[in-house]
Amino acid sequence: MMKSLLCAAILATGLGTATAQTLAITNGRVVTNTEAGMVESGTVLIRDGVIEAAGADIAIPDGVETIDANGGWITPGIFHPHTQLGLIEVSAERSTSDVAAPAASFTAAIDVADGFNPAGGHIPDSRRRGVTRFAVFPSTGSALIGGRGALANSSGAPDSLFDDRTFLYIDLSQSGAQTAGGSRNAAWAYLRAAFEDARFYPGRFMSHHEGDAINRFDAASLVSAVRGEIPIVLQVERASDIRRALRFAEQHPAARFILAGAAESWMVADEIAAAGIPVIMDPLRNLPGSFDVLAARLDAPARLHAAGVQTAYTTISADLYFNPRLITQHAGNAVANGASWDDAFRAITLTPAEIYGVGDRYGALAEGYAGDVVIWDGDPLEVMSAPVAVLIDGERQPMTSRQTRLAERYSERVPNGQYGYRH
């Protein structure tokens, strides 16, 4: 289902773009994220929003619009696997946030696509920092089944949400346990019951019977996750909880799982790798912030990569709505603590795309991939580097945001004036 949705989205993009637009990005270090590796001085050729070729020695057709990378870095757009962009404006102002509904009567039926705002105020600043695609997550609300997430691009266009009902979010950490009554034992009981409700949907709900854990409408929404049609993102931190999750996965072979949070995942890395379950984690978490994350450490990403765990990074220790733009810094710190540059960069581009089943369309610079390209003035994982151009589906994006407007206004200060700006 997702595939077909995707193809539709790509097709639509192609049609929406001026036809036969070709664009060449030249004269930069090309990070392909493919077997071609890093090309010291290469070119990326985009036709109709899709990459036609990337690498060295690429012939540029006559008359094609060219962007000179000027010796900078040319990379796939950043794919943030874990955001709430478009759902929150000001987190302390409840009226501006659609991430969670603690008083809702629904769980799995919740769909972030309904509340997602492509014009969300913080999307432009993540975009100008190189984030071109992102996953949109619900938060834990009235129950540990938080609802279904989606994938979007950062163009701000009305159709920027390009895949909905992409995954189901389930919180098995302390916050999830609270919704189940107060213990993780209760949380697992609830989850098992909800799975059974979905497995026996709709039969169980005939003749006015109720589900054991969830209602009829939620059960209908949970079915696709239980059958493995969409993956389930399980929020877990403690090593023992992760082992419990692995056992649950074994008992439900049809379902597909992704671990998020996963502070102690490095302790279970071999088992996670053997189970083929991906992990979304934050490289900066290294303190025992709770008794669930006592073993959090800075070299966890390096250890996960070494064990062969499919690992993507997030910015949860910063936030998920204002500072997803910091994901490159988080990746850079993984490198500072032992991860290879290639693994770390992949963890914020191709790996997230793969985790959500779109790794054949996003996250690499190769023929057939979407024209999501960022040109940087230096190593993208260096905190002093920044994008000089961002393309989504081959279209150059504005590099402005509310923040750039404020900075421009106040850089024209009138000395000692009553007003801090001229206009």
Binding site: I88, S175, P288, S290, A296, Q329, A336, V383, A407
Partner: protein, 487 residues
Amino acid sequence: MLEDSSRNKGALWPIMAGALAGLAALGLAACNGTAPDEADGSDTASSSGEGELVRYDADPYPSTYEPFESDIVLIQGATVFDGIGGEFENHDVLMQDGRIAAMGEGLEAPEDAIIVDGRGRYVTPGVIDIHSHLGVYPSPSVGAHQDGNEITAPVTAEVWAEHGVWPQDPGFDAALAGGVTTLHVLPGSANLFGGRGVTLRNVPSRTVQGMKFPEAPYTLKMACGENPKRVYGGQGRAPGSRMGNMAGYREAWQRAVEYRRSWDRYWDEGDADATPPTRNMELDTLMGVLEGDILVQMHCYRADEMVQVLDMAEEFGYEVTTFHHAVEAYKIGDILADNDVCAAVWADWGGFKMEAYDSINENLALVHDAGACAMIHSDDQLGIQRLNQEVAKALAAGRRLGIEVTDGEAVAWFTSNPARGLGIFDETGSLEEGKRADLVLWSAHPFSTYAVADHVYIDGALMYDRDDPERRTMRDFSLGQPGEGVL
């Protein structure tokens, strides 16, 4: 959602960040002349029967910090940032007796000196964080550990952060690995007057007193804006608005003015038989501010509020040393410069409440460019571990806006400027002969994401060595835990 998300700088964060604890008061007094000649715990210098005037000990919980054992260390051939604007290539730094003994090219190694090869590496003064809640909001962040805000009344100038600091917070160890040698722990921002802050050496110690920076001035945490009015307005108490915030400060300052007057009258009259004014712990702290002995560190986001506060400071005759967070400082850089007030800011936090909505990456550079004293701060147990990167981001953003700042000037943002904001610049914050040898040897340029601290020295003692796990400090809490030890 995610367990951590409740700690996103979102709804809960402002309260936590604001955490405040302080306690106010005891101290004071020595402000006016003779300090008690002995701090023997008898708290007061004496009673009227002896024919002496009553004065209270201004330092009843004195520092017992002693520098750790140090060697003579000569770092050779490094790129050295002195923290006050200078950048020197192929430079040597000599540390002896816990102090910076010499800096220059080709220094001769004293006998018994340990030689450290600094080639290809970088030296800066130790990182100083002027805004931390380590110890008062320690890890793990369980209910029993919430010691940073005395959320029982909006004016609690009588509480002291040092009475809430847990010296076993593992966050101190992690901060050391990030190069932090000195940090200022504040009460939070739930209250208008949160209490006194404390400046600490980042060393392992069984006691808070063993971490206290000797002779560092006391500070007073105050808070503007949304946090106090939300916390108390939500309880149907004052303040419930920004108007109420200002009224609350002014009422307290007026009481402090009158309290100070009553003590001055008592001391001036010099009658040992007279009954001294009744001691008030809250007003002791505020009087210390009016006397200029206690530095005001004020949490304030919005430009207009900061300017209101500057008028209030003039109204009651005190000074604001540093505005913290100061997300909109860039809008009033000239006014801050004119008033000689510093701004301690983040590189990129924002969005979590309305008063943080106008956060821009260029804030620090714009304030610096306006001629005001600007610096980075963390307010965060993770951020404190990489303040060099935070400065790098702020610097890069400023340069892209066309602001000219050298690397050397920007190093001041995490070294000498916070030292000035804490009143300890005479002792630390720059690499100059005779100063405390607080220093970081970085593996690469400190503005690189990939730079890590190889060595961290405090008073010349090697407190952290990346290659020597045995030397790593480890708080009691971490012992025997899974993944023992911070990395």
